[in-house]
């Protein structure tokens, strides 16, 4: 141990550190400044960036001893104790953050850049933040915020230089509200149905703590005396475990113990996934493997020690003897029964099969003008949230209760699972979710590591914590989307679709942590998209392999849009028609709604044709084709991709029933008014960056008649929040927001009932006010309808609350004291939103690089609770889909070694790659949900996979090539184009 003196944010810290202690850890653990985040520890993500003597530095690539005697500035030191600085304010105003995990590093990086370059242009700022990864925002609003800050910075420096400047509208406490950035956003067509707190782009309440570095992510939770867990992982894709020798770690100071699958088997119950679904093979997963490992990264033992450093030292000493087996990596071999068995308890790697048929495809094919054949194959991806998985478990032996801090999207179902697997009563477990640095589907289940940590906390009677490192996250967390489709489409001569036959396959990875049909089922369900299709057949096959287990990832159905839209483009190509025309011929019109699809889903309140036309008109389609033609003659390969999509959202209980999956789609909320009139609400959902605290406050405000800023929202703690199904499948807005709105309305009924006693009911009946008595609540005051408007009564919500709690005898006869409403809401089985994406690219045939020149989305997500949040979701979703098309991929070699274990190899797009996205809104309210809300947040992924790929295929059409496999990396595209010559455009 060495003593170091570091001046951080103007305060001197004397720390005792090891030579190897990273500066990032010293700042977080030694100084307690947890605003500096750790996202990779290999220098790539930028989350840990701090200033040293004013210069940006990766604190994970510097030793604490090297900072001895230096001045360090962290995000906590950017602004004074109260409030935010102009840069932080710009991020808040532009919604430049979602989960906020990346934000401190971005703020610090931009602080340094703007200090040197106050006049930085948008392109320079984009470049400056391109060493900071963000998985949520798609960078669009990050750049908008940076531009806004640069404008105000240069305005400030200009006014500082000149004596006689006029006061500027910008600067601290700025009032300028002019939109910056490229987004041409504005409502098209109908305005949102509801005004007031719904549909208002208020800034998010989460942002202050995220921007100032005072948020609480899992690793930020202070737990004195907590032990650290670290997992020993398999270096082999497939191997029998012969022995595990832990004696080598004995005597290492600080090591508490090493535990294996045998220990976990004694303490916990294995995971059995066996819903009664036809064609699904029931499967079981041990808490930790005892007999064999099934992928590189599979955990085989866990070391517990007093520090993470020591735990890793000991883990390196654990000797596991393996007998290496042949891995199953090739899907075709598994289908033909030639591959080694991944799971010996079943007799094949094929764990799900289904054949479905609607209508009479055979007849349609027999009479078709032509059969168009297409193929689509998406590579394996991984979620890569900027905050990796992690948890901290505290066992209270006296009360026999476990508190689990983690970042799950579904606190209550997580608690149910965790308690059952630990053989505890549900009330013995409390799950607390605080700030979460992104999830995208990776934080939906009780992970094996988390179960082990919880069991160890109980066994050792000491708090135990675990934070996954990036290599573990990329090799062993969860993966997704290794799906492919082979499609035959029967068409008429004029491009009308008569019937579709699809063969869908998916590589599920090493374990069934979800039902094996969970994701592919939605692909098949949504494949008909927005088109008329009665005769539809599909075959679905899911196989196990020796790869990271699969899971849903933001838009589990995502490839469906690419499949359908790619098929439409193929029809146009084969028949020599314009793809726009083929869509015209097949697309459902609003007059045909409600429409029951071939798989039995009911579309209503959707506007696919409208968003399609809106997008095309706004884009200038005909003009584009002229430009494309002229450019081709000059050797510039420009292409336009069109993708229309229908996005399933909400997932009510009836959907699960019909899918044969046990479970519920309901959501619960309570809203309470305290005796002082303070309003607090809670819902069962748990945010991972989506801004639910803000949107739930808006929904409650709308239902109750108060200002959103007066509603406190408590999410993520199972002791506080009512039992709900959590955040997934784009359901939080409709199910969560819906439950909150309805609970608030119910509470308002009670408020008005009390108010009638207090102020009388002299309002005009039927005046449109809430209860027909003429009374309503507005901005926390009881108002009375008058002359088509409202007048105050002088009675505040606080007065009603006081009566309700402290003067119960003045309440209407029989009424219970207090003001609280609790409500569970089961939303419709599905609400659908829809969108059209247009993407324009230019392909450089030599380097293979694809530049996105323009990206436009026309979307209809019904009533928007908060348009800024909706747009942010679209930006992030489009970037996620685009990353899959162009850059990302989990790669394995022939032995099953993972080739993409770091952010050097698993390439997340940076701000340099991010398209600018224009969003047009067409808000058609859902007739089935409170306030007309629909879900959204996954459609952007669906649309972008299809649109970006289609744009590339359009651009390279002169080379006679169609890309059917992703990702279309620059080297790969260049290799395919090399040696081909482009056909010159005909006149």
């Amino acid at each position: 141990m060495t003593g170091v003196e570091i001046n951080v944010n103007g305060r001197q810290y004397g720390l005792e550190v090891e030579p190897r202690t990273l500066l990032s850890d010293a700042l977080r653990d030694g100084c307690g400044l947890t605003g500096t985040h750790v996202g990779c520890e290999h220098g790539v993500c930028g989350a840990c960036t701090v200033l040293i003597e004013g210069r940006p530095v990766r604190s994970c690539l510097m030793l604490a001893v090297q900072a001895d005697g230096q001045d360090v500035t962290t995000v906590e030191g950017l602004a004074g104790p109260d409030g935010l600085n102009p840069l932080q304010e710009a991020f808040r105003a532009e919604h430049g953050l979602q989960c906020g995990f990346c934000t401190p590093g971005i703020l610090v990086t931009l602080t340094a850049h703007l200090a040197d370059h106050p006049d930085a242009t948008e392109a320079e700022l984009r470049h400056a933040v391109s060493g900071n990864l963000c998985r949520c925002t798609g960078y669009q609003n990050v750049i908008a915020a940076a531009v806004r800050a640069a404008r105000s910075a240069s305005a400030r420096s200009a006014s500082a230089q000149s004596d006689e400047t006029e006061p500027t509208a910008t600067g601290p406490g700025e009032t300028s509200t002019a939109p910056t950035g490229p987004t041409a956003t504005g409502p098209v067509g109908i305005e949102p149905a509801t005004t007031g707190p719904l549909g208002t782009a208020i800034t998010r309440r989460e942002d202050h703590r995220l921007l100032s570095g005072t948020a609480t992510f899992v690793d930020d939770i202070a737990l004195p005396g907590a032990l650290h867990a670290h997992f020993v992982r398999s270096p082999h894709a497939h191997a029998s475990i012969v022995t595990i020798d832990t004696s080598t770690t004995r005597g290492i100071q600080g090591v508490v113990g090493v535990f294996t699958g045998a220990d976990l088997a004694a303490w916990t119950v294995p995971l059995r996934v066996a819903p009664p679904i036809d064609g699904l093979v029931p499967l079981e997963t041990e808490s930790l493997p005892t007999a064999k490992v099934r992928f590189v990264g599979d955990p085989v033992a866990v070391v517990v020690a007093d520090s993470r450093y020591t735990a890793e030292d000991a883990a390196a000493l654990v000797r596991v003897e393996y007998e290496v087996l042949q891995p199953a990596l090739d899907l075709a071999a598994s289908l033909e029964g030639r591959a080694p068995l991944v799971d010996e308890t079943v007799d094949s790697n094929v764990v799900f099969r289904e054949h479905f048929s609607a209508g009479d495809a055979a007849t349609a094919f027999a009479g078709a003008h032509r059969v168009v054949r297409t193929r689509f194959s998406h590579q394996r991806m991984t979620h890569a949230p900027m905050e990796t998985r992690g948890c901290a478990a505290v066992w209270d032996a006296g009360r026999a209760e476990l508190t689990m801090y983690t970042g799950t999207q579904v606190p209550h179902p997580y608690r149910t699972q965790l308690a059952a697997r630990l053989r505890l009563a549900e009330h013995q477990v409390r799950v607390i979710v605080q700030d979460v640095g992104g999830s995208f589907g990776q934080k939906l289940i009780v992970h094996r590591e988390e179960l082990a940590v919880a069991a160890l906390a109980r066994h050792l009677d000491r708090p135990v914590r675990w934070r996954e490192d990036r290599i573990e996250n990329l090799t062993a967390a969860l993966s997704a989307r290794e799906d492919s489709a082979e499609v035959e489409t029967a068409v008429t001569a004029d491009g009308r679709i008569l019937a579709v036959r699809a063969r869908l396959t998916s590589d599920f990875g090493a374990y069934a942590l979800f039902p094996a049909n969970y994701m592919l089922r939605v692909v098949a369900m949504m494949l008909p998209n927005a088109y008329r299709l009665a005769d539809y057949e599909y075959d679905m096959t899911v196989v196990l392999s020796n790869k990271i287990p699969a899971s849903p990832m933001r838009a589990p159905m995502a490839i469906c849009t690419w499949v359908t839209e790619g098929t439409i483009d193929a029809i146009a190509r084969d028949l020599g028609l314009d793809p726009v025309e083929v869509r015209e011929r097949n697309m459902l019109r609003e007059s045909e709604l409600p429409y029951v699809t071939a798989v039995g889903e009911t579309y209503e309140d959707i506007t696919p044709y409208r968003t399609y036309r809106t997008a095309l008109d706004a884009y200038g389609y005909a003009e584009f084709r002229r430009r494309q033609h002229a450019d081709r003659k000059a050797g510039i390969y420009r292409g336009l991709g069109i993708a229309c999509l229908v996005e399933p959202t909400t997932y009510g209980s009836a959907f699960y029933r019909s899918a044969g999956i046990p479970g519920s789609g309901h959501e619960s909320a309570w809203v309470r008014i305290d005796p002082s009139g303070a309003v607090v609400a809670s819902v069962g959902i748990a945010p991972a960056g989506q801004g639910h605290e803000t949107t739930i406050a808006q929904a409650v405000a709308a239902g109750l008649g108060v200002r959103p800023e007066d509603v406190a929202v408590r999410l993520g703690d199972t002791e506080v929040a009512p039992y709900g199904m959590g955040t997934r499948g784009a359901r939080s807005g409709t199910a969560g927001g819906g439950a909150a709105l309805l609970a608030a309305q119910r509470l308002k009924d009670k408020v008005l009932a009390i108010a009638r006693e207090q102020v009388g009911t002299s309002g005009a009946p039927g005046s449109g006010a809430a209860d027909g008595s003429g009374l309503d609540v507005r901005d926390g005051e009881i108002v009375r309808a008058k002359d088509g408007g409202h007048v105050g009564t002088g009675v505040a919500l606080a007065d009603i609350a006081r009566t309700a709690y402290l003067d119960p005898l003045s309440l209407p006869p029989g009424m219970e004291p207090g003001l609280v409403a609790h409500l569970a809401y089961d939303p419709p089985p599905m609400t659908y939103s829809n969108a059209a994406h247009l993407c324009e690219v230019v392909v450089d045939p030599v380097t293979g690089q694809v530049r996105i020149e323009r990206y436009l989305v026309a979307e209809d997500a019904g009533t928007m609770i908060n348009p800024k949040v909706v747009e942010g979701q679209i930006h992030g979703a489009v970037m996620l889909g685009t990353g899959g098309v162009l850059y990302e991929g989990v790669s394995y070699d022939a032995e099953g070694n993972n080739l993409t274990p770091t952010f050097r190899d698993y390439v997340l797009p940076s701000a340099q790659e991010a398209p600018r996205i224009e969003v047009l809104h067409c808000g058609t309210p859902s007739s089935r949900t409170p306030g007309g809300m629909k879900g959204m947040s996954e459609g952007g992924v669906m649309g972008s996979i299809a649109a970006v790929t289609a744009a590339i295929n359009d651009a390279i059409a002169p080379f006679g090539l169609v890309m059917e496999d992703l990702p279309i990396t620059a080297p790969r595209l260049s290799d395919l184009l090399a040696g081909r010559t482009a056909a010159l455009p005909t006149e």
């Binding site: 090891e18 030793l63 390196a316 030599v846 390439v907 080297p971």
Partner: protein, 287 residues
């Protein structure tokens, strides 16, 4: 992941450094490669000897014919320093392309050369300009071409790169530097091409240097092969001849990021762009 334990020393002077070095020590310069390797436990070391406190490694001397840069010169200094920009603009341009601001704050010229990544920008510039390195060890001192250092085990166990010496470019030298890098936040170069050229009054080429990184186990230069290209008109055909020579010397690999064929095509593509840049600058310098 966290590094395995090590001891740490931070000598204040070159003499102290040379006096303390023993076999198995690992020098810590900017740490932008080394610490990532240590964090991932791909490397470990009994002791890190931090050279950041040694003033003698931080010199920046611009002489009439040459530039001497201490091994600890940061990438950001190479990119920003007006003296370096004036004396070896191609080096500044390349340094600005290394990583991101935070990496450039700490990463060093000596570390980059010692690290010898086949695609790294700065060793390529060393090879382009025929730079030499001054090395010291507890019992020896030598000067070698940077090109010779870029091979495995070229630097001895207890050897320290003290400084790099580069010939100063003149105002008549046109130059170009371009790269195609991987996408994303890491954005390491796949292939870089750099060139300098000078024109005679009749517009023919009187001097030419060119170097490639990322297409062979180590960066390589045109070297003597440039001879046959001198005295010729720098037209498209000439560009092609330069590219042919550079591609001919390539020995690229196929890996996760790109095929060997792609890397070869990049050399050709970048060579044309870089020569066009260099030619334009040379012409501007003449007029």
């Amino acid at each position: 992941m966290k590094p395995a334990p090590f001891d740490y020393a931070r000598p204040r002077h070159l003499a102290e450094l040379l006096g303390t070095l023993v076999d198995g020590d690992v020098l810590l310069a900017g740490g932008q490669s080394l610490l990532a390797d240590l964090n991932e436990r791909k490397r470990s070391s009994r002791r890190l000897v931090d050279i950041n406190g040694i003033g003698a490694l931080q010199r920046l001397d611009v002489g009439p014919d040459s530039v001497v840069l201490g091994a600890l010169t940061r990438h950001q200094t190479l990119a920003d320093s007006p003296e370096v920009r004036a004396a070896v603009p191609v080096l500044s341009c390349a340094a600005a392309r290394v990583g991101h601001a935070a990496v450039r704050t700490r990463g060093t010229l000596g570390g980059s050369i010692a690290n010898a990544d086949p695609a790294a920008e700065l060793p390529g510039i060393g090879v382009l300009l025929g730079a030499s390195a001054q090395l010291r060890s507890p019992d020896s001192s030598r000067r070698v071409d940077v090109e010779e250092l870029l091979h495995p085990r070229a630097i001895g166990e207890q050897e320290v790169i003290v400084a790099i010496e580069l010939p100063r470019m003149t105002s008549r030298d046109g130059w170009g530097f371009r790269e195609v890098s991987r996408p994303g936040a890491y954005a390491f170069a796949l292939v870089t091409v750099a060139a300098t050229l000078r024109l005679a009054v009749d517009g023919t080429v009187s001097a030419l240097r060119a170097a490639v990184t990322g297409a062979a186990p180590a960066p390589y230069a045109l070297g003597d092969a440039a001879g046959e290209l001198i005295g010729r008109e720098p037209d498209q055909e000439w560009f092609g001849a330069v590219a042919d020579l550079l591609v001919g010397r390539a020995d690229p690999v196929t890996d996760l990021y790109a095929s060997a064929a792609y890397r070869r095509r990049l050399i050709r593509h970048l060579t044309h762009e870089v020569l066009a840049d260099a030619l334009q600058r040379a012409r501007e310098a003449m007029s």
